[in-house]
Amino acid sequence: MLENALTVDRLQFAFTVTFHYIFPQLTMGLALLILVMKSAALRTGDARWNRAARFWAKIFGISFALGVVTGIPMEFQFGTNWAEFSKTAGAVIGQTLAMEGVFSFFLESSFLGLFLFGEKRLGPRGHWFAAFAMFLGSWLSGYLIVATDAWMQHPVGYTIGPDGRMGLASFWALLLNRWALWQYAHTMLGATQTACFAVAAVGAFYLLSDRHRASAQLFVRTAVIVGVCAAMLQLWPTGDGQGRMVAQYQPASLAAMEGIFHSERGAPIAILGQPDVNNRSLDNPLFVPRMLSFLTYRSWSAEVRGLDSFNQEDWPDQIPLVYFSYHIMVGLGTIFIAIQLLAAWKLFRGKLYESRAMLWILLLAFPLPFIANMAGWITAETARQPWLIMGLMRTQQGVSQQVPAGDAWFTLLGFLGLDAVLAILFLYSLYSAIDRGPGDDGDDVLGAA
């Protein structure tokens, strides 16, 4: 397997995109929270909100830079490692990818520079506008990338020419793909949750260590109020809507995600269990009877198609990975709802800042949304296999034909080494920014770092 260029190209894309997505999920979520903080600052005139926004903009800046340097390899790899895919489909997905560069990146990078370096010369309204432009840029960027992926999941608005190359048939069909709308809402709520848990964790850390109490309370309060809404919307309607898209357009993917090997009426949902692909069964299952039929088709006795109703060559090629990443995502999403509801209840009762147990939970939970978001993307991308473009092009047809496995190995190893260095530097900078803190009342000097 590993002497085969296709496998190495897949591993390299999987690794680099997974590592990349650590950063955008944080920056997209933080862009929203920074906008919330700047809006509160503009409304109340309270300097603490500005201080909070300035502190999180520092973290945003570090993460944004890493998002950029780890993101450029994504665009490059479409050409370097997936040349046949690009040649066939570039005229369609090139639309959304080029739009991302033209509409989002100029907006984001110009206004990030102004936000970080220009608070004095922009004035309060100008600085709020810079925060708004950063938010708009990063959320637009998210949409255009999701729309690109959605087209691969559920291709619409294309034509196929006589030479096999695709062209655009309808710009609006591509841009307003039903799949993209659900996937976008679900993805952005995931990013919002990542940022909420990060902001809450830093607030909890300060409260537990009795530092920067005023800022810390602001962090926890903002993060829990936004976070509890995001956690619930993540499940319903967006998670549910996304799930029904999969059921409608990718039934084989749904079967792999749920570990359903045999079609049945009134299908149960598996909470736990290990898929045994050779014997076509789920070992050690913990079932909730009839639940899957109800969730998918709103009927307790509806028939859910199992993997046995598809040709084996159309099965996802990594069923256990699909199954586990999906279950990890859903399991963690459920835990987030519990944590956020509990924290919101304590906040409402005015007991959150004194509840050390709850603060410890918020502090320790911060890595979990990163895991959940990555698990979600792994589900989406591996459940689509063996298709690169669902129903139109198989993954093995999209790979660059001329690039030897040795060259792909060389660059995969290079990325592993480089990204390890980036991860260390990121954690170090994050640690020192958090250690320096947002500053306290009194030392409210503009730009104090």
């Binding site: 005229a91 090139g94 080029a98 560069g101 100029f106 110009s110 655009l168 900078s429 020192s432």
Partner: protein, 348 residues
């Protein structure tokens, strides 16, 4: 439609070279013209608020290339696999060096990041030049429009050429000299005191090296790719592009002698634009000539995306780039004038 998008992509990439060129150049010269930590922070402060915006022109230009000429993107990116990956790593290291210089405390870190920044900037300039050299020289395309080039073979620009041969290395060195000059002029424009004087002295010497290399690569290009001459002889108006480059070069000498920093830098922009547009004009209609059989070469016609998508693209591209030009100009105006030592030194 293909020709129009050829011009758009060429202009976007040329703007990228002019803008990111000065911050690459500033990276190359800053070890030489800025000696103390405060001086280096002043140089970095002059590019701090704009460098990642400059790099966006590469990403947006690349995205536009992908959308308008998917077959060219697929063929060239997979064919130049290793050099492109190395460019990616250098871009990463360079971005990280600027970013983390402000976030790592302790005396040993700043010189370390400065060295990483300088080395990555220098190698990027050479690689970008070599990439242009490869496109002019042509690559061993097969009938399916595919090729794969190793980094080097025997350093001769024949049918078996690698990415690096004597011609592409020569273009790489010329790019290095031109961007170093460009960066020195930017530093002279944006700083004051000793740093400005050192940058000006360096620029005054470099301009003659750039002039000599310009003559050398022009002669070498016509030798390696004889078809370049035909397009100029058929369309004599194309002479405006090389004329722009020559005027730019003369302008650098003239304005720097008169002590006009701003005009000297603008003349350097004109020189770079003139050189790049000359190359694009002389290649047209080819976007990637073949060194094997001329008919295998990729042209604006056989590499372009279907018509409908390109027409739609024109609408959003015009809207998007009008907005983008607006932000870019606004950001540059907000940070106009000389950087004072220590002003943006802390970064964020």
């Amino acid at each position: 439609m293909g020709t129009l998008w050829f011009c758009i992509v060429a202009v976007m990439l040329a703007v990228y070279v002019v803008l990111d060129g000065f911050d690459l150049g500033a990276g190359i010269v800053h070890l030489v013209v800025a000696h103390t930590d405060a001086e280096r922070r002043m140089v970095l402060g002059s590019i701090g608020p704009v460098w990642d915006g400059n790099e966006v022109w590469l990403i947006a230009g690349g995205g536009t290339l992908y959308f308008a000429f998917p077959a060219l993107y697929a063929s060239s990116f997979s064919g130049f696999y290793l050099p492109l990956m190395i460019v990616l790593w250098l871009l990463t290291l360079r971005g990280v060096a600027v970013e983390f210089r402000n976030h790592t405390r302790g005396a040993i870190w700043a010189p370390f990041w400065d060295a990483v920044f300088a080395l990555a900037s220098l190698l990027l300039a050479v690689f970008f030049g070599a990439a242009l050299g490869n496109v002019v020289r042509g690559v061993p395309l097969d009938a399916g429009g595919r090729f794969f080039e190793p980094l080097w073979t025997n350093f001769l620009p024949g049918p078996n050429a690698g990415v690096l041969d004597w011609y592409t290395i020569l273009v790489g060195v010329a790019a290095l000299a031109a961007l170093t000059l460009h960066g020195a002029l930017w530093v002279a424009l944006k700083t004051d005191g000793e740093v400005t004087l050192r940058a000006q002295r360096l620029a005054n010497r470099l301009v003659w090296i750039v002039a000599a290399l310009t003559v050398a690569i022009t002669a070498a290009s016509f030798h390696v790719q004889p078809s370049l001459a035909t397009h100029f002889s058929g369309n004599s108006w194309g002479a405006v592009f090389p004329a722009l480059a020559i005027l730019g070069l003369a302008g650098i000498v003239w304005f720097s002698w008169r002590g006009r920093e701003r005009n000297t830098f603008l003349a350097s922009c004109a020189y770079l634009l003139g050189m790049l547009t000359s190359a694009a004009f002389s290649l047209y209609p080819y976007v990637l000539p073949a060194s094997t059989d001329p008919t295998f070469g990729l042209t604006v016609h056989n590499a372009m995306a279907p018509e409908y998508g390109l027409r739609i693209g024109l609408i959003w591209w015009l809207i998007g780039m009008t907005l983008a030009t607006g932000y870019t100009v606004y950001a540059y105006r907000s940070f106009s004038g000389k950087v004072k030592a220590g002003a943006h030194g802390e970064g964020y």
